[in-house]
């Protein structure tokens, strides 16, 4: 029923879009019809999918980098919480720097290729990931911490058997927020300077007024974003069965 509603909703939306274009006679270099977008998607599917994979790879490594650093920092703070204010003020400072302003510098430092896009993606999703994971480390049940202390658990046992499982729901929440942000970060990096990736295709098609192709690329990257989000959601449900904490 849920899927029927989604399909029906999408069909009505596309139909309204097509009718809207036909009635108002909007030229396709301003606003293409869904049929034109679909044709462009079919015509360029090889180029779009190849470049889509490149953007996805940049976003993935940026996501991985940001979340790994966030986990390490959160674990560090959970044992040495006197450093929390220092780390958070540095993270907030980083957050306030507009990513669009720093990207040319990243290109200068890391080159116009893959690495600068990874760093851009990592920078944009670092802060929300850190905040979520830190919230997780703070929410660990004090009674469980006391229990592990009573049994003289060492640091690695605490991390492996208590902290990581405890913060899992927050980790997945961080993954969900940062996955879409990482894609935006990779796109921003490609907008500044690139010769491949969806961001590059959007910009180059825009300059040649191939707006149908611009739409095709936007739709592709949206589908990738939704796909990644749902994949994380799927793993979350598979892994965190105890998240129904009210049942416990």
């Amino acid at each position: 029923m849920k899927y029927i509603k989604i399909i029906l909703g999408t069909f009505i939306f596309l139909l309204a879009w097509q009718v809207f274009i036909l009635i108002l006679k909007i030229p396709n270099y301003l606003f293409p019809s869904p049929v034109e977008v679909f044709n462009s998607l079919i015509l360029n599917y090889k180029t779009i999918s190849l470049n889509g994979l490149i953007t996805l790879a940049e976003a993935f490594f940026g996501f991985l980098l940001a979340n790994s650093i966030s986990i390490i920092i959160a674990l560090f703070i959970s044992f040495k919480n006197r450093y929390e204010n220092l780390v958070m003020s540095m993270a907030v400072t980083l957050k306030t720097i507009p990513i669009i302003a720093i990207t040319p510098l990243l290109v200068l430092w890391f080159g116009s290729g893959f690495y600068s896009k990874i760093i851009t993606a990592a920078l944009i999703c670092f802060f929300p990931a850190l905040v979520n994971i830190l919230r997780g480390t703070k929410s660990i049940d004090k009674n469980l911490i006391e229990l592990f202390n009573i049994y003289s658990a060492n640091t690695s046992q605490k991390i492996k058997l208590l902290i990581i499982p405890s913060i899992m729901p927050y980790l997945f929440s961080a993954f969900k927020v940062s996955s879409s942000l990482a894609i935006i970060g990779a796109l921003v990096g490609e907008f500044i300077t690139a010769n491949k990736g969806i961001g590059f295709l959007i910009i180059s098609n825009y300059y040649s007024l191939n707006i149908a192709a611009v739409f095709a690329n936007i739709i592709t990257i949206s589908v990738i974003g939704v796909g990644v989000y749902n994949l994380i959601n799927f793993f979350e449900k598979k892994i965190i069965k105890w998240n129904t904490i009210e049942n416990y």
């Binding site: 229990l147 049994y151 499982p165 069965k241």
Partner: protein
């Protein structure tokens, strides 16, 4: 044997425990009764080696509780079961063994479940079992390292009456089979009389021992609750607590 001599404990200027003297023999089941916030948990944490800044002497077989705790010879069970929801029943029981590096942790945990005839729930998730059973699992976990002493802090306070009766019988069974020294904090007079060999009654702040009652029953089952002797113990303790 647990030996407590002239034990006093303050939090800043607030005296919580005042000159406590108590001896608990090996294998004895002792309940500590007192009004809310009178320092029972503090006393238990001192016996368990969690709190070590106090005046007086506390020894377990001549050794300080802190050292005994480090040897993992004390088992704790709290008011809340404190089970790890991401581990199933058997893995919760085996947690202390796993932390201790015991490679036979699962086998030993199954043995403990067999002790209370609950091996059927071994692979169940903790949220699939009742609150009472969760508490029982928590008690079994505290027994997993085969401690000499078991400290129970109001373990049945959040459990309904019917489940509580069943758990009392299970605890008697555990005590009979393992012969551990058990120290339990409780608010329930009936529970203390039914389960214990000795009941320690504390006054309000600062906590002092009013009376140590020896409870002697030939057997411990539901039938003793109807005896004159049982009712007399309950009334005596109620009178002492009203002070």
């Amino acid at each position: 044997m647990i030996k407590i001599e002239s034990l006093s404990k303050s939090y800043e200027d607030f005296l919580v425990l005042d000159n406590i003297n108590l001896e608990i023999n090996d294998g004895e089941f002792v309940s500590i009764l007192g009004s809310f916030g009178c320092g029972k948990t503090t006393l238990m944490k001192i016996i368990g080696g969690i709190i070590n800044d106090y005046t007086g002497v506390v020894e377990i077989d001549g050794i300080s509780p802190v050292k005994i705790l480090k040897k993992r010879k004390i088992g704790f069970c709290f008011q809340k079961a404190n089970l790890l929801p991401w581990r199933n029943v058997i893995k919760n029981i085996s947690l202390p063994l796993e932390l201790n590096g015991d490679k036979k942790s699962l086998d030993k945990s199954i043995e403990l479940l067999n002790l209370v005839e609950l091996s059927s729930i071994a692979t169940k998730n903790v949220w699939e079992i009742s609150g009472g059973t969760q508490q029982l699992v928590s008690i079994l976990r505290s027994l997993s390292l085969n401690p000499d002493i078991l400290l129970l802090d109001e373990p049945f306070s959040s459990i309904d009456e019917i489940s509580r009766d069943k758990l009392h019988n299970k605890l008697i069974e555990i005590h009979k089979k393992t012969k551990k020294t058990i120290v339990m904090i409780t608010h329930s007079i009936n529970e203390a009389v039914f389960l214990s060999d000795k009941v320690v009654i504390l006054t309000k702040n600062p906590a002092k021992i009013i009376e140590i009652l020896k409870i002697n029953f030939f057997k411990r089952d539901e039938s003793i609750k109807k005896t004159k002797n049982f009712v007399a113990f309950v009334n005596q303790i109620r009178f002492l607590l009203k002070g």
